[in-house]
Symmetry: C2
Subunit: 355 residues, 2 copies
């Protein structure tokens, strides 16, 4: 059975200001110094699924830049553009229908475009096993990250009974972002995993699930099934897409489907939800400062300094983030990384000039 | 008797990096948002001595930029250029000889180009009284700032007996920068004043003092006295100046002269010795953040944020300095302002590119 990677790459990026902007979102940034996150996501899969079998779903506003930054890595016609921003359920349905039309049955790995994986071997081993389970069953498989702290920023998945001869469990329940106390309980129970938004299934399995649990969305999209791959596709999509429910695949499908499996994974996963995640991705000096660009950091500990060509000198600071770009600069303690979104929003409200 | 202002404006500025550079020293910076420090120094004196009676001594390397930034404030021919960097003794002797040649006897106020004065009325009142004393006596008068803390970065002047019918004292002793304990003793005695490097005297008085206490320097410079104001002045100065002793007027003259007076002054003086002095000079928000330029400062206290056109966002910080310029950025706690010199020096050593 053929296998495809579908990367969901339509996000904005106010939490990564000033590196990211509305028109320059996180997945299009080179945070690691290696490549943009979107390309990293595709290339990381290569030993399992070739990049020629990779598709990207982005939105119309980011389509052009996405195609440009992909360079020659995957064919430009593998970039699908949503005509309106919706949540993950419509996006995945569109990709599944496109794959069915083009290839018939296949295994489909759905990946967020902007996550970081420290241990890629472990990650690929897990994806491979998930693909095996997806082929053998009609189930929907998701990767569950084993938590190492009581994070309140992630959804959790409760493990049910073990699936024989595999490392997977039945997913007993999906839980929204918990409060601190609840998260502590999840962590100590050892029975909960973080929901990383990574999904593996057969096309037939996921389409059956849409038909059962989001029938209106399924019917609406099926109206344009015949036009997929024709010159009418874009136009039909533009008329249908804005009518679709704004709902996540977790909420619309995963929480309701009968046969859902979760496969625990220890791969140093991070959703790169705020700027402090740069500390994971950049090389560190002996004082634990994560540095890139033309930076001079001295008498400092645990800082994140992201410079461009302009010299950035940081001295006598601790756990501070200094994020410099051509037209804007951010200085903020690491533990206030969540506040960055507020700045980006305030800037938008005030229509403030950045340089 | 005519009176002249002579501003000593030949300093470098490694402690003000990245705002100042070797070729762009502190006195040529607009720190207050009003004007460059050199112009402020001249204009602050205007009610006492007109700017048409102001002279500037700088060095050859800074002559061009100094003339440019003075704009139309004072005649360009009032900018004297030292052909080599020497200390204050040669600089003041050169200015005194030039004034004598041009105007005969006069009162001469020698001012550093890069100090800040909060209370300009009090400052001018003190200068006026010093001028009166200088005229009536043959003494050398200096302004002594009443200390409000046991500063270890300034020299001190011990007050001797009171000069009748004035606020001045005989200067009993000049003390170099003390250690902390000594400085505390000076402060609690109430008998010591900070040496601000501000001097007032008649030309005849100071020339007599050079003749008595720095006779070699005096003789050397007198060799070119006849050439001052002629086309030979620059050439003769170039041959004589590098031979002169590298010595301060404090050490070479003031500590040795017989008739030295010190006039106490409370004028909110600051020598702007390091970047944290910006806090005195810039407008503050309600959280005590001193801000200028395109800056957005929130949830922060006691910071100094100097931005240009580029947006600088600072959030969640305390007592931090963020100094942004076109080609370099500095981030450093206020209480580490002294370390800035080290950065500038390291940059020079490493010949590092700033942008």
């Amino acid at each position: 059975m053929r296998a495809f990677t579908v990367v969901m790459a339509g996000g904005g990026g106010s939490r990564f200001w000033p590196l990211s902007r509305q028109e320059y979102p996180k997945q299009l940034l080179n945070l690691s110094g290696r490549d943009i996150m979107l390309n990293d996501t595709i290339l990381r899969m290569e030993p399992v699924i070739s990049r020629t079998n990779a598709y990207i779903v982005t939105n119309a506003a980011q389509e052009k830049l996405t195609k440009k930054l992909l360079a020659a890595r995957i064919p430009k016609r593998h970039v699908l553009a949503e005509p309106a921003r919706r949540n993950t359920a419509p996006c995945i349905l569109y990709a599944a229908l496109m794959l069915k039309k083009k290839y018939g049955e296949a295994v489909m790995c759905v990946l967020p475009a902007d996550h970081f994986i420290a241990d890629e071997e472990a990650y690929r081993a897990c994806i491979k096993e998930a693909m095996g389970i997806a082929k053998k069953t009609d189930g929907l498989v998701t990767i569950g990250i084993r938590p190492d702290c009581p994070a309140t920023g992630y959804g959790y998945i409760a493990c049910g009974e073990k699936l024989p001869k595999t490392e997977a469990y039945r997913a007993a329940a999906f839980r929204e972002k918990p409060d601190r106390e609840t998260a502590k309980g999840y962590l100590s129970s050892g029975n909960y995993l973080w929901n990383a938004g990574i999904f593996v299934w057969k096309i037939s399995s996921i389409l059956a699930a849409y038909q059962a649990h989001l029938p209106a969305m399924y019917e609406e999209m099926m109206k344009l099934y015949d036009d997929i791959g024709t010159k009418y596709e874009t136009q039909r999509l533009e008329s249908v897409y804005p009518l679709l429910e704004n709902i996540s695949v977790d909420y619309g499908i995963m929480e309701k489907a009968e046969e859902v499996y979760v496969l625990p994974c220890d791969c140093g996963w991070n959703d790169v939800g705020s700027l402090d995640a740069l500390a994971l991705m950049l090389p560190k000096d002996t004082d634990g400062n994560a540095i890139r660009g033309n930076a001079m950091v001295q008498d400092s500990k645990g800082c994140i300094v992201s410079a461009g060509k302009r010299l950035v000198a940081v001295t006598g600071c601790e756990d501070l983030m200094v994020i410099d770009t051509e037209d804007a600069l951010l200085v903020c303690p690491k533990d206030r990384a969540q506040d960055v979104r507020k700045i980006a929003e305030r800037l938008e409200t005030e229509q403030r000039s950045e340089g």
